[in-house]
C-alpha cells in the first residue's frame, strides 16, 4: 500500500498551489476557488493523519471543515456579488475603500 | 499571615464607586466622591488597623484567576504596603474634596476615573503576584492620562505623550522581566508562577539573566519615581496636570515606584543591587542635588514644587538602596511624610492659583498679607518640606541619612548638601509668593482667605505632620519587628 507520506506530499503541494493562487490572482472568484483548494488539501491531511493514528477525529474535523467551507463560500460569494454590484468589479486591487 | 476576605473590599468598593459615578447627577458629584472616598478611607483604616497594631502580622488573601499561567489574585497587606495603602486612601479623600473645574466639566468622567485610579493603586499596592501588579501598575495610566488630557492646561498634548511613552517603555521591559523570571522558575520547578513568594526562590541566583531582569525592573521603577536621568517627563506633566492629578502623581504614584523597589526589586535581586549599590546610591544622591538646582532656577512655582519632589524622592531612594531593614523603614517613613507634604504644598498652591490669574513666579508678591491663614499653612508646609526638626519629614530624612551614612559616606554628604539647597529654593518659593509689596490688581475679585473644607483638611494634615514629627513610633514600631 502506498505510504501515507505520499498523501501528505500531495496535500502540501495542493495547499501551496492554493496559497499561490490566493496570493497572485486578483480575481476574487479565483481567489475563493484557491481557498477551496487549500481547504481540501487540509482535509486530505486530516484524513491521512486520522488513518495514521487509527482515530476518527480527523474524519469528524473534515466534516466540520466541509460545513464551514460551504458556509464560507456561500458568504464569500454573497460578498463578491454585493461588491460587484456596487463597484462593478471583482478585482481585489480595486477594492480599497477601507484602506484610507 | 492571616487569611482575610476584607482585602477584596478595598478593590470592590472603589470599583463600585467608579461605576456608580455615572448615575449620579452632576451637581452632587463632589458630595458623592467625598462620601465614597471617606468610606474608602474608613475601610482602609478598618482593614489596616490589625496590621498596624499586631506587629509583623499581615493579611493575605488568594483568589484563583488564571492559575495555569501562574496568575492569581493574591492580595497581601503587610507592614510595607499598609502605609502606602493608608496614604493613598487619605490623599484620595483629600484630593476629591478639592473644588475645581473638574467638578464643572466632564464631572462624571472625573469621579469615575478617580475611583478607577484608587482601585488600580490599591490593586498595585496589595498584589503580591507580579503579573497582577503589572496590570494594575499599567491601569493607573488610564485615568492619569485622561485627567491630564481633559482637565490639564493648554500645552498638555506633548507632555501626555511623553509621559505615556516613558512610563510604558519602562514598564514593558518590566513585563518582559516578569515573564522571564517566571520562565526561570518554570525551568527550575516545572510550574509557571508569577507569585512573589515563589519567585523569591530565584533571588539567590547570581546569573547575567538576573542582572538583565533587574535592569528591566529598575528602569520601570526609576522612571516612575523618578531617578535622575529618567525624570525628563516629570516637569511638563506635573505643571500641566490639574491639581488632583499632580497631587496623586507626586504623593502616590511616585510611591508606587518606591514601593516597587522595596517590595519587588530589593527581595528579588539582592545580589544585583549589592553589586550596583555604589552607582545606585550615587544616582539617588545626584538626583537630590540636581533636582534642587533645577528647582532653584525654576520660574514657575509648580515646576519648582515638582523639582523639589524629585529631590525629596532622591532621599527616599537613598534609603531604599542602602538596603537593610532599618533603612527600608526609614525610606517608607520618608515616603509617607513626603506624600503628606507634597499634598499640602500642591493643594495650597492650587488654592493660590485659583485666587490669581497669572502663574509666573515673578507675577506674585505680597500675598501673605492678603491671605494670612493660607500663608501660615503654606509656611508650615514649606518648613516640613525643608525637613525642619519637629516635622515628620525630619524624622524620615534623618533616619534615611543616618542609615545611609555607614553604607556610603560620600553619597550621604552629597545628599546632605541638597538639604541646604532645599532651604534655598523653598524659601524662594515662599518669599516670592508671600512677601514683598502686594499689588491688588493681580488678585481676583472674590479672593477670600482659606476656609471651610480646605482649612479643616489642611490643618488636619499639618497637625499630622507635626504630631508624627514628635511621635513617629506608630510608623517605626510597627515595622521594626518585621
Amino acid at each position: 500500500m502506498n505510504e501515507p507520506w505520499m498523501m501528505l506530499i500531495v496535500a502540501c503541494t495542493v495547499f501551496l498551489i492554493g496559497l499561490m493562487g490566493v496570493i497572485f490572482r486578483k480575481n476574487l472568484l479565483i481567489v475563493l476557488m484557491s481557498v477551496e483548494l487549500m481547504l481540501n488539501a487540509v482535509n486530505l491531511s486530516f484524513v491521512t493523519f486520522s488513518k495514521l493514528h487509527n482515530s476518527l477525529e480527523g474524519h469528524i474535523s473534515v466534516l466540520f471543515v466541509m460545513t464551514v467551507a460551504a458556509a464560507e463560500s456561500a458568504v464569500g460569494l454573497g460578498l463578491v456579488i454585493a461588491l460587484f454590484r456596487t463597484l462593478k468589479t471583482a478585482d481585489s486591487d480595486q477594492i480599497q475603500i477601507l484602506r484610507d | 499571615m492571616e487569611n482575610s476576605q476584607q482585602l477584596t473590599a478595598l478593590l470592590i468598593w472603589p470599583m463600585l464607586g467608579s461605576i456608580l459615578a455615572w448615575f449620579i447627577p452632576k451637581a452632587s458629584q463632589r458630595i458623592y466622591s467625598l462620601f465614597i472616598s471617606i468610606v474608602q478611607f474608613a475601610l482602609v483604616i478598618y482593614v489596616a488597623y490589625p496590621v498596624i497594631t499586631q506587629t509583623g502580622q499581615g493579611l493575605e488573601q488568594t483568589l484563583p484567576w488564571l492559575s495555569d499561567l501562574g496568575i492569581q489574585l493574591s492580595l497581601k497587606l503587610d507592614s510595607t504596603s499598609v502605609w502606602f495603602v493608608l496614604l493613598s486612601g487619605f490623599v484620595s479623600f483629600v484630593v476629591l474634596g478639592m473644588k475645581g473645574q473638574w467638578y464643572r466639566r466632564n464631572t462624571r468622567l472625573f469621579s469615575s476615573m478617580a475611583f478607577f485610579l484608587i482601585f488600580s493603586i490599591n490593586a498595585a499596592f496589595l498584589s503580591s503576584n507580579l503579573i497582577v501588579f503589572y496590570l494594575s501598575y499599567e491601569a493607573v495610566f488610564i485615568p492619569m492620562i485622561l485627567m491630564v488630557g481633559i482637565w490639564g492646561s493648554s500645552t498638555k498634548a506633548n507632555s501626555v505623550f511623553r509621559f505615556f511613552l516613558m512610563s510604558f517603555f519602562g514598564s514593558i521591559l518590566m513585563l518582559v522581566s516578569i515573564f522571564y523570571l517566571s520562565y526561570l522558575y518554570f525551568l527550575k520547578t516545572g510550574i509557571f508562577s508569577a507569585n512573589l513568594n515563589d519567585l523569591l526562590k530565584l533571588s539567590n541566583e547570581n546569573s547575567p539573566a538576573m542582572l538583565w531582569c533587574f535592569a528591566g525592573f529598575f528602569l520601570a521603577f526609576a522612571i516612575k519615581v523618578p531617578l535622575f536621568p529618567f525624570h525628563g517627563w516629570l516637569k511638563e506633566v506635573y505643571v500641566n496636570a490639574p491639581a488632583p492629578a499632580t497631587i496623586w502623581m507626586s504623593a502616590i504614584l511616585s510611591k508606587l515606584g518606591v514601593y516597587g523597589f522595596i517590595r519587588f526589586v530589593g527581595p528579588l535581586f539582592p545580589e544585583a543591587i549589592l553589586s550596583a549599590q555604589g552607582i545606585l546610591l550615587a544616582l539617588a544622591a545626584f538626583s537630590v542635588i540636581y533636582a534642587a538646582f533645577l528647582a532653584i532656577q525654576a520660574k514657575d512655582p509648580k515646576a519648582l514644587l515638582s523639582y523639589s519632589s524629585i529631590s525629596h524622592l532622591g532621599f527616599v531612594m537613598l534609603g531604599v538602596f542602602s538596603m537593610g531593614a532599618s533603612a527600608k523603614t526609614s525610606a517608607i517613613v520618608l515616603s509617607v511624610s513626603h506624600g503628606l507634604t507634597s499634598l499640602v504644598l500642591f493643594y495650597l498652591y492650587d488654592l493660590i492659583v485659583k485666587r490669581k490669574e497669572d502663574v509666573s513666579l515673578e507675577a506674585y508678591s505680597g500675598l501673605a498679607k492678603k491671605f494670612p491663614i493660607l500663608f501660615v499653612c503654606l509656611f508650615i508646609g514649606v518648613l516640613a518640606s525643608v525637613s525642619l526638626p519637629g516635622t515628620f519629614n525630619f524624622v524620615g530624612e534623618f533616619l534615611v541619612l543616618i542609615h545611609a551614612y555607614p553604607v556610603s559616606a560620600l553619597c550621604t554628604i552629597l545628599a546632605g548638601i541638597g538639604v541646604i539647597f532645599g532651604a534655598v529654593y523653598m524659601l524662594k518659593f515662599y518669599q516670592k509668593l508671600g512677601f514683598g509689596v502686594s499689588s491688588d490688581a493681580q488678585v481676583a475679585e472674590v479672593a477670600e482667605d482659606i476656609s471651610g473644607f480646605d482649612l479643616i483638611v489642611i490643618v488636619l494634615i499639618l497637625a499630622l505632620i507635626i504630631y508624627f514629627g514628635f511621635q513617629p513610633s506608630l510608623f517605626l514600631g510597627g515595622m521594626t519587628n518585621v
Binding site: 500500500m1 503541494t13 495542493v14 463560500s73 463578491v80 | -
Partner: protein, 181 residues
Amino acid sequence: MDWSFLAFVIFATIAILGSLMVILQKTPVSSAFSLVLVFFSFAGLYALLGAHFIAALQILVYTGAIMVLFVFVIMLLGQDEKTTDIKDTSLLFKGVTTLGAIGLLSVFLRAVMGSKEIVAKGQYSEEKIKELGGNLQAISEVLFKDYVFHFELVSFLILGAIVATVALAKRKNTYSGEYHE
C-alpha cells in the same frame, strides 16, 4: 505494482495538475471546471485512504453544492471574458510567491518525514471499523456521541451563513410603496 498505487498516482497527478490549472486559467469558468477535476480526484484519494463516507461527501458537498454555487455566481456576474490579472502581476511578485511556496514546501516535507515516527494509538483500527460495520457506522458513533454538541453548533453556523448570504445578496429594496398588479 499495486493497483492502488497506480490509482494513487493517477489521482495525485490529476489533483496537482488540476489545481495548477485552477490558478493559471485566464477565465473563471475554466478555473471552476478544473476545480471540479481536483475535487473528484480528491474523492478518489479519500476512497484510497478508506474514508468512503468522506469521499462520498466530497462529491456531494463540493462538487454538488459548492461548485454549482461558483458556476452560478460566475454566470450571474457575467465573468466570462479573459482576465488579465496574471499578466498584470509583476514577475518579481510572482517569483517571490513561488519561491516562498517552494520554501514552505521544503519545510513541510521535512515535517512530513516526521510522520513516519507516528505510532497509531487510537482505538479505531481497520479491524474495529469493520467490526462496527463500516466507516459510516464508526463515524456516526463518534459524531453523535462525543461531538453531538459541536454538531448542533455547526447548524447554527450554517443558519447564520444563510441569513448573511440572503442579506448580502438581496437587491436593494425597490418597493416604492405602491402595489402593482
